[in-house]
């Protein structure tokens, strides 16, 4: 029984340690991710029915292909990859650690035949003299050597940047940490919620994408909202000035929030996402009496005019130039609903009061612009974010180590009458080969060695 379990464990271990599994998982994740960009994600059920037919649509829903990046099998693939990374790393870490903590310092024949760079000479001078010259040379040009005596021979061993071998482990650890951060965030946080606050308004609840309310635990107040435009009419900058009231105290006072400049309080972050108009200001002039009145029309609501007619704003733009290049400035599409008559709809432009001045029935309308804005802020909490950034830093350090450092080793065996130098490097062979050849020439010179003919 015991051998049975242990052989299952061994098989599993070998399975997860294999590089073929890595390649399979990476290509599998790539293929599966491609499918997710071609099939709409998180769309309404009807969309799939229309596009692919009812049976296929039900099949997609059953396999969560309509939200595949959050499906159980996508997480399974990622989980398998994580286990694969950890297994491969553990196996290699042991070997790398042993190589660094207890390096082979004696250059025997087996080791010599396994190394890619080897040079041998005949020595005229004594072993002690050669040893001291070679040690000095290594100390100067490479690194201070360890000296080992084995029988009649002296072995010198020097190395550089042994920790380079851990670069690849830092890299992989970074990936595992990132994935951990992703899991923490998805379990403990929320994203893609939003609040819409009118100027001078406040709220203590955010709305998730699916419409559920999320209590913030404090109140956010929008003191002011402003938007500025380029001379082309495109928005240049829009900002909300927010205050936060927590437990009756104003903890944050008048902090500006812009796109790319969010505000964080108690782990919840507010991002300037967009804006829309809450109320529109008109000046209406009675055509008969000439008396002008100001009328404030709230978005989506009908407003009453002094004579009982109603007016509603159906659509508005900040800059009408995109629709009607000859005109500029804010514009609204209004509908006037006379008390006893047929409705008429027309466009009014703030900068061009003459346009459609004859419409509107009993009143002459003049559009003054937006009187109150709604700011739309995206709200999110993600406690996994610092973990993800930590993983990214580890990943970048790992890349740096792997590409900029290399583990190089040099052995010199000094016997009576014969000297052998051998070396290896874990990467950048051409640079190391050049260095090795130059070092060999210098060693030959300082120790008065001669080539073996």
């Amino acid at each position: 029984m015991e051998s049975g379990t242990s052989s299952i464990v061994m098989t599993l271990w070998r399975f997860f340690c294999s590089l073929r599994l890595t390649i399979f998982l990476l290509m599998g994740l790539a293929a599966v991710s491609i499918v997710g960009t071609l099939i709409p994600q998180n769309a309404a059920q009807e969309v799939y029915g229309e596009k692919y037919g009812e049976t296929v649509a039900r099949f997609f829903h059953f396999l969560t292909i309509d939200d595949m990046y959050h499906s159980w099998w996508f997480y399974l693939l990622l989980g398998l990859l994580t286990v694969n990374i950890i297994a491969c790393s553990l196996r290699r870490v042991r070997r790398d650690w042993r190589m660094i903590a207890s390096p082979v310092t004696v250059l025997d024949d087996d080791l010599e035949s396994s190394l890619p760079y080897v040079r041998a000479w005949a020595a005229a001078r004594g072993v002690k003299e050669v040893e001291s010259a070679a040690s000095d040379l290594l100390r100067r040009e490479f690194s201070a050597p360890r000296v080992t005596r084995s029988g009649e021979e002296i072995h010198l061993f020097a190395r550089k940047q042994p920790l380079a071998r851990f670069g690849v482990h830092a890299l992989h650890a970074g990936i595992v940490v990132i994935l951990t951060g992703v899991v923490i965030g998805s379990l403990l946080g929320f994203t893609k919620a939003f609040v819409e606050i009118e100027e001078k308004g406040a709220t203590a609840t955010a709305n998730s994408r699916s419409g559920e309310p999320i209590g913030l635990g404090f109140t956010v107040r929008c003191e002011d909202f402003s938007v500025s435009y380029y001379d082309t009419g495109a928005p240049k900058e829009y900002r909300s000035v927010l205050s936060i009231v927590d437990g009756g105290k104003t903890v944050i006072e008048r902090k500006p929030v812009l796109v790319n400049h969010p505000l964080t309080y108690r782990g919840i972050t507010f991002y300037q996402s967009g804006y829309n108009a809450a109320a529109f200001l008109f000046s209406v002039r009675d055509r008969k009496t000439g008396v002008s009145t100001r009328v404030d029309v709230r978005a989506g609501e009908k407003a009453s005019l002094p004579n009982g007619d109603q007016v509603v704003v159906m659509d508005s733009v900040d800059e009408v130039r995109g629709h009607a290049p000859r005109y500029s400035g804010p514009a609204v599409h209004v509908a006037v609903l006379p008390a006893g008559g047929s409705p008429e709809s027309f466009v009014l432009m703030k900068n061009h009061p003459d346009v459609n001045a004859d419409r509107g029935g009993a009143y002459q309308f003049s559009y003054r612009g937006v009187s109150s804005w709604n700011t739309v802020l995206q709200v999110a909490r993600d406690p996994g974010v610092p973990v993800v950034w930590g993983g990214c830093v580890l990943l970048v350090i790992g890349f740096g180590m792997t590409f900029l450092m290399s583990h190089r080793r040099i052995w010199i065996r000094i016997g009576s009458g014969r000297v052998v130098m051998a070396g290896c490097s874990d990467r950048n062979q051409s640079a190391f080969r050049m260095f090795f050849d130059e070092l060999a020439e210098k060693l030959k010179e300082v120790s008065s060695l001669s080539d073996i003919t």
Binding site: L26, Y230, V259, D382, L395
Partner: protein
């Protein structure tokens, strides 16, 4: 069209750059076929001169944006990104040529630079006609506005520079790797299975000067070793910026997803090389597949799939 003097000048310089790259491309091909050294030197000079013109043009455009009142790094729309991509390809090619000294590789890499620049200037009408033939509305309305535009608020961030530069340097590495892989496949088809037909040419007159297959394989590997960490940095800077601007460092937006797909493919490539049997032909094919995915990530996503990056596409 850019209205200031620097702006007009930059347009002239871009056109001159395209011409230079065309002449360099032709010279490299002639050099590859005939083996005449002076032609190769001429090609180098033309490519280098083109690169200087190119850098100046980008600098002038940068200056022009300040003169127009909306100063920003010239990396904010499709036109600027296409032109910058061509610049990174030539830069990376230059570094490889200095390191390996194989001019014949230019015959395969300069076409990428030239075609990219030509696409920036003249590609839109072609795509539009293709679009109306295929009945695709997105392609039928395709345009590459070359004017210097003010940055919408979402793009007003330093991260624009870091994210775009790292991504494009990554793409450039993959482009060089793919170009060299094409060379490898052409060469190895005429020789033995893995192209070891001998260093001197048994592959026929046209490739009389191309480097041996093993060198091409190594250049491919080195190029991807440069591109992959840069792409990783590109994805990371993109995620940091997205977190700042949109409250979420990863939304499975098609552009984000495709950059991850490209990352998976090249990660598979690097791991496959550790297994025996994945050098040579298979590596060359995977490198080309990866670059196709890269091109789709860069352009296809903007054109064919909706998402957060659509305004960045111009």
């Amino acid at each position: 069209m850019p209205g200031t003097q620097s702006g007009m000048l930059s347009v002239t310089f871009f056109t001159a750059t395209t011409l230079c790259y065309f002449l360099a491309m032709v010279s490299y091909v002639v050099h590859l076929v005939t083996g005449k050294r002076p032609v190769g030197i001429l090609a180098d000079v033309l490519a280098f001169f083109g690169f200087v013109l190119h850098t100046t043009a980008i600098g002038l455009r940068w200056k022009a944006s300040y003169e127009m009142g909306y100063g920003h790094v010239p990396l904010s729309n499709l036109y600027e990104s296409i032109v910058f991509f061509a610049w990174t390809v030539v830069l990376l090619y230059g570094l490889f040529e200095v390191r390996y000294r194989y001019r014949s590789v230019g015959a395969f890499v300069l076409p990428v630079a030239f075609l990219t620049m030509a696409f920036a200037q003249y590609g839109a009408p072609l795509v539009r006609s293709a679009g109306s033939l295929m009945g695709s509305e997105a392609l039928g309305n395709f345009s590459i506005p070359a004017g210097i535009q003010a940055l919408v608020p979402a793009l007003q961030s330093d991260w624009l520079l870091y994210h775009v530069v790292t991504c494009f340097l990554g793409y450039a590495g993959f482009a060089v790797g793919a170009a060299v892989s094409v060379m490898y496949l052409v060469r190895s088809r005429k020789g033995t299975r893995d192209g070891r037909a001998g260093g001197a040419d048994t592959a026929g007159g046209i490739l009389s000067l191309s480097p041996p297959a093993e060198v091409l394989d190594r250049i491919n590997y080195q190029a991807i070793l440069i591109g992959f960490p840069l792409l990783t940095l590109g994805i990371i800077t993109g995620a940091v910026w997205a977190n700042y601007a949109w409250g979420s460092y990863w939304s499975w937006d098609p552009k984000e997803t495709w950059s991850l797909i490209v990352w998976f493919i090249y990660a598979a490539f690097l791991h496959a090389r550790l297994t025996r049997g994945w050098a040579g032909r298979r590596a060359a094919i995977l490198s080309i597949v990866g670059f196709c995915a890269t091109v789709f990530c860069y352009l296809g996503v903007n054109l064919l799939l909706p998402g957060l990056h659509s305004y960045g596409g111009g």
